[in-house]
Amino acid sequence: MKSILKSAVAALALAAAGSAAQAADLKACFVYVGPVGDFGWSYQHDQGRLAVEKHFGDRVETAYLESVPEGPDAERAIERFAREGCGLIFTTSFGYMNPTIKVAKKFPDVKFEHATGYKTADNVATYNSKFHEGRYIIGQIAGKQSKSGVAGYIASFPIPEVVSGINAFMLGAQSVNPDFKLKVVWVNSWFDPGKEADAAKALIDQGADIITQHTDSTAPLQVAQERGVHGFGQASDMINFAKDAQLTAIIDDWAPYYIERVQAVLDGKWHSESTWQGISHGHVVMAPYTNLPDDVVAMAKETEAKISGGWEPFTGPITKQDGTEAAADGVRLEDGAILGMNWYVKGVDDKLPQ
């Protein structure tokens, strides 16, 4: 039922997008998985789109489709954009990977950019951010600030990006408190404020005094605020929702990348590549550190500077949950190993769903 609905919504949105005006050098189009008003993932992508509009003025026209479900609807949405004369199409969710590749084959002259995927083609580039860098920092903060030594992690789906986030958080926490415990709850949704709030309550009831999330709504932070524990913002700065609870937030800033890629198309220098940058390129930004003692802020800033200087949080010694060695002392995990991560580090109190 819901998918019928969503496709109907998508169809309506398509009809609306069809009536846009012409006469710019390039039309850059964006496909979002959530509503632009989610104040999380899709919201941040749309902030990037707005930055493109502001930066290029009349030279670049933009269009977007929101709440496009992953699957056949996505393919229709992307193809519609391609037919409409979009020169550059950003598809901003992992599940758009195959639809993007399929449509790209039919439209060799249109350039595609797929976020968080791993399949490329001559006219399909991929881009992602090293969110795990930010997660390592918030893990360190959690390790310092947690009185119970237990943090709760609200996770969406067991895909490598989420798993590597959990591991980076844990490594950060263990770097200051080797006995740190992490409880993980999977809500199997990217966005369901009610469920996220329930999960946060369950974690707090079981002793977690730091809540962190890899889901998109502000609900867990609000629960943290009410219950007097602490947490971290996700994707956007959520300080307005949790003045006393938010310690910092990992902000996805897509604006620099979007502007760079649009510029490349305008200059005729665009070619397919895989971009994966983090704090050093400003693609991952830490929100101001709040509700923290000075020494913890100093530690966080130091780690941030270290990562910005090229240090990788996934540097050994790293032990997997089953006790085997993932990386020896001083050895840095390869990008592929991080992007395809399907194991927990030692100390995570959860069995990874397979």
Binding site: L12, G37, D38, Y43, A197, D198, A208, Q222, F241
Partner: protein, 304 residues
């Protein structure tokens, strides 16, 4: 610990309960309104907006109820006066609600909301365990319970309820007896809209006090399923809503305990429970026939 779990369950169950009890009345009158999700999300956004602008949670709740009723009035006009297809009209109501609420709510994204205050019922709230769980809630939770009792009473103990059920079971006979089928159904639809609006207000003013698009996240559809689950009986709606809320919350606790049960399986548990109960109910044909409104979803055009 148990107390904390129960508190969370009540919060999770209340919006489902309220929306479902409203839809139950609508369906008892013979109308299937699939627009619960749309009315609920409109209640959520209007409730949030009004509470935010006026600073009064009560006004927010009232406005949400009115918004839900306005949406349902539109639906009522379509299916009762223009005799459009109920399924299609209900679906469009949901789509309309989701879109319209996004537009209205644009200015309120990222704005923290206010939470409905908890009302401590004197004496009762001091009973150990039961007090904190059942008598230290916000007004909407109490209202939800009151609604169940009221609906059950009116449906089965009053003349008005008899007429409503007659209209739902056999609109031609009810019409022949001189009852206005359209008027009864319209009032039932309005009641359903009011409940959905109230459930939406609970989402944006108590459950998660904020506005984000699509924040009801399919709860309207679950409410619809609950009505069937309850075989159109009010107290079974309570059981269904609490079962659903309890299973959802307990799956999170099971995960946090590290029991090692696959989370995907846990997430599907509430739905599996619904299917199991539906199978059990339909096994008893007689009971099903007695309680299913016979004219559910059938259009009626008065001949005079």
């Amino acid at each position: 610990m148990f107390e904390a779990v129960l508190l969370t369950v009540i919060t999770a169950a209340t919006p489902l309960l309220i929306a479902a009890i409203g839809e139950l009345v609508v369906e008892r009158s013979g109308v299937l309104n699939l627009g619960v999700e749309g009315m609920m999300i409109m209640g959520a956004v209007v409730g949030f907006a009004v509470a935010n602008q006026t600073g009064s949670g009560t006004l927010g709740v009232v406005a949400a109820i009115i918004a839900g009723m306005a949406m349902s009035a539109l639906f009522g006009f379509l299916v009762l006066v223009l005799v459009t297809n109920q399924v299609a009209s209900g679906l469009s109501l949901t789509i309309l609600g989701l879109g319209l609420s996004g537009m209205i709510g644009e200015a309120f994204i990222g704005v923290p909301g206010l939470r409905l205050p908890e009302l401590y019922i004197p004496v009762l709230s001091e009973i150990p365990f039961i007090g904190p769980v059942f008598f230290q809630q916000d007004a909407v939770v109490y209202l939800g319970f009151a609604l169940v009792f009221a609906v059950s009473y009116v449906l089965f103990k009053t003349r008005a309820g008899l007429v409503l059920r007659a209209v739902g079971d056999n609109h031609t006979s009810a019409h022949a007896l001189g009852y206005s089928v359209v008027r009864v159904r319209f009032l039932a639809i309005l009641f359903g809209g009011a409940c959905a609006g109230l459930a939406g207000a609970y989402m944006s003013l108590a459950y998660t006090p904020q506005w984000v698009e699509n924040m009801t996240a399919g709860r309207g559809w679950i409410a619809l399923a609950l009505v069937v689950f309850a075989s159109w009986l009010p107290f079974r709606v309570v059981a269904g809503a609490y079962l659903f809320g309890a299973v959802t919350v307990l799956t999170f606790h099971a995960q946090a305990q590290g029991l090692g049960i696959p989370s995907q399986f846990l997430s599907s548990l509430p739905y599996l429970a619904t299917i199991a109960v539906l199978v059990l109910i339909s096994a008893n044909r007689r009971l099903t026939l007695v309680n299913t409104p016979a004219c559910l979803g059938k259009p009626f055009v008065p001949d005079r």
